[in-house]
Symmetry: C3
Subunit: 179 residues, 3 copies
């Protein structure tokens, strides 16, 4: 290789290298679960990464959508089955059950109480904190469609997308978690 | 460094760089769960990645094996406990329960109905599509051995392997999910 | 670029490249679940990776802590709620339930029996093996704090840390799993 050609190759490689290195500045998650404990873990990881200066992208799908619902939901204009499913699912972070020891809803209260005693941020504030720190939340349009969830039922300021959105973030991230 | 030596180093580095870049063309999954909703999510992610031109490797283990069983299984020649476990587990994508709201099997029917109304591909076609698009499915031999599942009980055309197969795919993938 | 300058750039790039390549020599896990089957899968993956010469870091949090508890736990000096939760949770790998087919504790026995018949290492030995092979286990201090778990309640020789410890390992690993 000529000196000039070599210099050009090196410069090109440097930008390819920088692109790969950028992957360790991003974290991607699928929030599939709507269990209080798992959603809590997801947001602890998210805020931790944000505090370390990483970009965080969270793709929320299936039961995970329960966590980003507004507490009040008008179900007018939905099909009967959609209404039934929406009615049975918890609405927002304060209504989620735990994956273990739920005991008909006593478990989550107990855990919230125990966490409060240790001065741990409650889930809604943790989620708010993540949003202030710049987390990108993408609600899965297909899941919303299946369960009859509308954009106005979910938190303001989130994005909407499909699996391709998640995948392109994930392929640009060193760490991808399915929670 | 001499000009020649430098050129050689650069060339060598370029192939190392290309190898690392290749990682973003591969996605690896462990399908541990056999819940309808999680299996569905796994195959939505898989077909999405395949459509983007990525290679997808899915290592199916434990309950995930339920999803790739043939609908009819002859349990002759198994030990009593194996027979019992096989008899109790669902066989194939149409028999899987959901992780939430299963209601003794009504839940999955309800979801299949709601998904059909939105023109979403049913799970068996989604799985078939993934296979036509070239997904690599590897059934975990150890799990098969423990539960007394034989090769002929599972879908045709899948591969069989151990954790090392999964790990070598995973270390060559930017994204690895445990579902 | 001058020859000298070029050589310097190339050398610098080589060390950046080596750093990225190192990522495929590390595996990071969050062990969130305390289900026998998932803990077993996590340690099969861990020992597999260790046998391939990889470094393995396992961040144990929430229910996962059940798996690394000592079989006997003195609950003196805890608050009432903490005592209750500790009393209800399984202690150590031999007491874990399965995520499916638990049948009030019969399931895990059945699986242990079926695994023994196939000469598969029992979970406690698998865990011991992972530790001898050099796995790094980090117990999540926040979860311990919430549930009133003390350092002396957990296996000897493990480390203690927070989400930042997990994240920095994860960003240096090609594969990160949330189990």
């Amino acid at each position: 290789m000529e000196q000039n050609e070599l210099a050009k190759t090196v410069q090109e490689m440097e930008s390819r290298l920088a692109k790969l290195e950028k992957n360790s500045s991003q974290l991607t998650m699928v929030l599939f679960s709507g269990d209080f404990d798992k959603v809590f873990a997801a947001f602890i990881i998210a805020t931790g990464a944000l505090a370390m200066g990483k970009k965080v992208s969270m793709f929320v799908t299936f039961w995970g959508l329960d966590a980003i619902k507004k507490p009040v939901m008008k179900t007018a204009g939905r099909q009967l089955l959609e209404k039934m499913v929406l009615w049975m699912r918890p609405k927002g972070p304060n209504k989620l059950g735990t994956s273990k020891m739920n005991f008909g809803g006593i478990g989550p209260r107990l855990f919230r109480y125990m966490m409060g005693k240790k001065n741990i941020e409650p889930l809604p504030s943790l989620m708010e904190m993540a949003r202030e720190m710049g987390i990108k939340i993408i609600a899965c349009q297909m899941s919303m469609d299946v369960m009859g969830i509308k954009k106005e039922d979910l938190l303001d300021g989130i994005e909407f997308g499909g699996v391709a959105t998640f995948l392109s973030d994930s392929f640009a991230s060193n760490t991808t978690l399915f929670v």
